[in-house]
Symmetry: C2
Subunit: 143 residues, 2 copies
């Protein structure tokens, strides 16, 4: 997980400008384990910075994704979620409320891929997802 300060260094090094909007996005993402969508981030920011536009959030997330500073999660079919933690880790998703939690167990040594697949694919990374009911939703407080 990169700090906002580190993000500034990286952006400068890449020749990207540091704007108040980008700083605000870096800060929201710093240490964020809530796996927000672009819109989640926008909604939170627009309260403090009323002129903030969704386009800027979108553009900045896209840039951060391309330089590998954040990870896009494809665990929700309704919208994209972003994770500032770019180390390989895994997730458990509540099928009822959509809550996402991190799992940091390293399964890589056990995830052996069949030979016929290895012949056709150059594997880059992997992701493990667990689905279930979180304690809140088990109590019938589902939504």
């Amino acid at each position: 997980m990169r700090s906002a300060e580190e993000m500034v260094q990286i952006f400068r090094k890449m020749g990207y400008k540091i704007t108040p909007q980008r700083m605000a996005i870096f800060q929201i993402l710093e240490g964020n384990t809530s796996h927000p969508s672009a819109d989640d981030i926008f909604k939170e920011l627009v309260q403090r910075h009323p002129s903030m536009s969704f386009t800027t959030v979108y553009n900045t997330l896209e840039t951060m994704k391309q330089i590998g500073a954040i990870q896009e999660l494809t665990i929700d079919s309704a919208r994209r979620h972003y994770d500032p933690n770019t180390e390989t880790h895994h997730h458990i998703i509540c099928v009822s409320c959509g809550q996402i939690e991190d799992i940091f167990t390293d399964y890589s040594s056990h995830l052996v891929v069949p030979e016929h697949i290895k012949r056709n694919f150059e594997i880059q990374n992997h992701q493990v997802q667990f689905y279930g009911l979180c304690s809140d939703c088990q109590d019938g407080r589902s939504n």
Copy 2:
């Protein structure tokens, strides 16, 4: 993987009607390992059944999903894919062309979830995804 005939039985048992449109959808999905999107299925069907509507495909897929006859895959952030194979299995996705292939290795005994997660989640199932480049896209024929 359920056959079209089995699907008919299940639908009848649940009180759902069997229509020519639904039959056509069952048949397209029978033994289908291409992980089609709703639109893929619609486009294929509309050639043979010109009056077929997207709504019907959408509704039927939704019904099949709810009774557990098909699985919705959340591996592509752009659109939803459907898999008539409802047994636990895994996927490898080409990050360049989006091609999806099945992996039938059973990893379940190795995917141990930390205790603090187990306390908060009632785990139902899991999915492993591998990302990489398929042989076509390794050759620079990417798109």
